[in-house]
């Protein structure tokens, strides 16, 4: 039980540690892997053997999970509200996709290119984002995403416009493994990329840099007096987040061999927010769990009727905000805390 609460604890500086004398080890980076985390990462592998017919869906869950992770970095940790994160996802997808269409089919370098393009764009955009407050940020991120969407729509000679970008020739992974129709290679490819990036990000958010981001989220005015250059840190995390989103976009393009205009659309940004909030922000795992729950539900319900799906997701969102802040992981954590205090009382 103890391991679970520790693992799933959101990355907030708990109020109690502020009022009591802070012990040094509490604030030092501690990124030891908990047993529950290891179990969590065995789940996709178990799913691989348990649901061999759903490999494509599972790969997409992992890719969108990676995308949600990128949003968690800026929203859950640094507290930047973005309504246009699909911009970077779409950039990565179109970069990897266009390379593959024009003869550069090597997947890993294509992915890297997507990450670099998204990262450069994210770096430029970040200067605009750090300028304003919530409403301005919201509008700037939304506006930039819409601009890219419009650009991709108009430049149909390059991107295929509304029909989407098809005709990609993605080469073999490491020159050996061909992307098959069952999605076996796509599965392992997505899993490996997700896991490696997760390890890096997990280290990042538990580092002093990650803690300073939480500090910025919780009290932006106090951070400069601790010697933190707030804008520079926000720019750094925004760029990292854009890179990760670009990788996710590139992965989706390569594994599905198609890039739709919707990869840049507002609904994608909004759905991403929903997944993250559903899972719980500021914990990394929330992004992955939210993406999994959201996409399985979407697969099931939108099979019945797409319009109903949108209604229920809207209702769910309103209910989460009104009654269940913290999402799934937040709820589990409360349950766990309840158990713990009962145990202590007994």
């Amino acid at each position: 039980m103890n391991a679970m609460t520790d693992t799933l604890k959101p990355a907030t500086v708990a109020k109690t540690t502020m009022t009591t004398i802070p012990t040094a080890h509490l604030n030092l980076p501690n990124d030891r892997w908990r047993p529950l985390e290891i179990v969590f990462w065995l789940l996709p592998i178990a799913a691989y053997f348990a649901f061999p017919g759903y490999l494509v869906l599972i790969s997409q869950i992992m890719i969108i999970g990676l995308f949600a992770l990128s949003l968690d970095l800026i929203l859950g940790y640094a507290g930047i509200v973005s309504l246009g994160h699909a911009a970077f996802f779409g950039l990565g997808a179109y970069t990897a996709g266009l390379l593959a269409v024009h003869g550069w089919g090597e997947p890993l370098s294509g992915l890297l290119a997507g990450a670099v393009v998204a990262g450069i764009f994210g770096f430029i955009v970040s200067f605009l984002v750090v300028r304003g407050q919530d409403l301005t940020r919201l509008m700037v991120t939304l506006g930039i995403c819409l601009m890219l969407h419009e650009a991709a729509n108009k430049a149909s000679w390059l991107t295929g416009g509304v029909d989407g970008l098809s005709g990609m020739m993605v080469g073999n992974l490491f020159g050996r493994f061909e992307f098959d129709l069952n999605g076996t290679v796509a599965f392992w490819y997505s899993f490996a990329v997700l896991f490696i990036l997760f390890v890096v990000l997990r280290r990042l958010v538990k580092s002093p840099f990650g803690l300073s981001l939480i500090g910025i989220r919780e009290g932006v005015r106090r951070m400069p007096s601790l010697g933190v250059n707030v804008n520079r840190r926000l720019i750094a995390i925004y760029t990292v987040s854009a890179v990760i989103a670009g990788v996710a976009g590139g992965l989706l393009a390569q594994t599905t061999q198609f890039v739709g205009l919707d990869s840049l659309g507002f609904p994608r940004s909004a759905e991403l927010l929903i997944m993250l909030v559903l899972g719980g922000t500021g914990r990394l795992y929330g992004a992955l769990i939210g993406a999994a729950v959201f996409m399985v539900a979407q697969d099931y319900i939108s099979g019945l009727n797409p319009a109903y799906w949108q209604f229920y997701i809207g209702l769910l969102l309103a209910l989460i905000v009104l009654f269940a802040r913290g999402g799934i992981l937040g709820g589990l954590e409360k349950l766990a805390a309840g158990f713990k205090s009962k145990k202590e009382a007994a």
Binding site: L75, V81, L83, L128, R131, G132, Q133, D134, L135, T136, L138, M139, V140, L142, G143, I144, L146, M147, E150, A151, K154, F266, P267, A270, L273, I274, V277, A307, Y308, W309, Q310, F311, I313, G314, L315, L316, L317, A318, I320, V321, L322, R325
Partner: protein, 288 residues
């Protein structure tokens, strides 16, 4: 060329005044309650559907359908404010954004369920069709009517806010809630009525705008950016700010789509990013 330009300018102003009518409520609620309401377009859509239903199914005359669209949206706005919105005034902006996106999605799904996914046709009365001749220009009669209505509404709104007791209470509540409450103003009631007024104006705009903006279930999402844009660029909490911003955006959008159709909606997004960088707090700041 010049006449052409004047025509574009005129259409832009008509479009901008419609944007203003829909967004002004958003500006006041945002400035007053500090609430980012992405679902504002849903109230406009509601007004549009009420107006269409009254016109086609019940045969209500066009002019009579507009006040009814206003009332319907205002009532729904009042109910939602009392039941849901007020719980979130103190919540973080993220929560407000998420909640109102949720409402927007629900309204889109509900509109699809009741009215189908297609564009709603609107038949204007005879006297609003065709062109009229003003100052050597041939302009759409409906657009003249539109501008006329918006001018009237704006004047009425200005009088309401500047000259009446209720307007003074609104201004006081925007400036300082605590002090207003201390002076015996029922701030929570003022909030509710203002929210209802803003929603009603959006509904009126939605009913008026079917011919210009179109009406289908994706309306709240399609135009959400424009409404937010008007408020973010104009500065929340004022009436002048959104008016100026809506006219600028309307003219630039129409001109952009007319003169450089190949880059289409680009003009307006680029303009918005530039304006927001230059004026992060909006064109017209509210006097403290």
């Amino acid at each position: 060329m010049l006449a052409n330009f004047a025509g574009v300018l005129f259409d832009g102003i008509a479009y901008g005044s419609l944007l203003f009518l829909i967004s002004v409520g958003l500006s006041v609620t945002m400035g007053m309650m500090n609430f980012i309401n992405l679902a504002h377009g849903a109230f406009a859509m509601l007004g549009g559907y009420v107006s269409v239903t009254l016109l086609s199914a019940l045969g209500v005359p066009f002019l009579a359908s507009l006040p009814l669209a206003f009332i319907a949206s205002a009532v729904v706005g009042l109910v939602l404010e009392r039941l849901l919105y007020r719980r979130l005034y103190k919540a973080s902006h993220l929560d407000q954004v998420l909640f109102s996106i949720g409402l927007t999605f629900m309204s889109v799904a509900a509109a699809t369920y009741f009215f189908g996914p297609t564009q709603q046709p609107v038949t204007l009365p005879e006297w609003l069709r065709g062109q009229v001749h003003i100052l050597g220009l041939d302009v759409g009669a409906y657009r003249v009517f539109l501008i006329g209505v918006v001018v009237l509404v704006t004047i009425a709104l200005g009088l309401l806010i500047e000259r009446t007791r209720f307007g003074a209470q609104i201004r006081a509540s925007v400036d300082n809630q605590t002090a207003s409450a201390g002076l015996g103003i029922n701030v929570s009631l003022v909030f509710s009525l203002t929210f209802a007024l803003g929603s009603g104006l959006a509904g009126l705009g939605g009913g008026l705008g079917i011919d210009v903006l179109g009406l289908d279930p994706s309306f709240p999402i399609k135009y959400m950016v424009y409404f937010l844009l008007v408020v973010a660029v104009g500065g929340a909490g004022t009436i002048k700010g959104p008016l100026v911003a809506a006219l600028i955006l309307g003219v630039f959008d129409v001109a952009g789509k007319y003169y450089v159709p190949e880059i289409g909606a680009f003009v307006i997004y680029a303009l918005m990013v530039v304006l927001l960088i230059l004026f992060p707090a909006g064109l017209i700041r509210r006097k403290a």
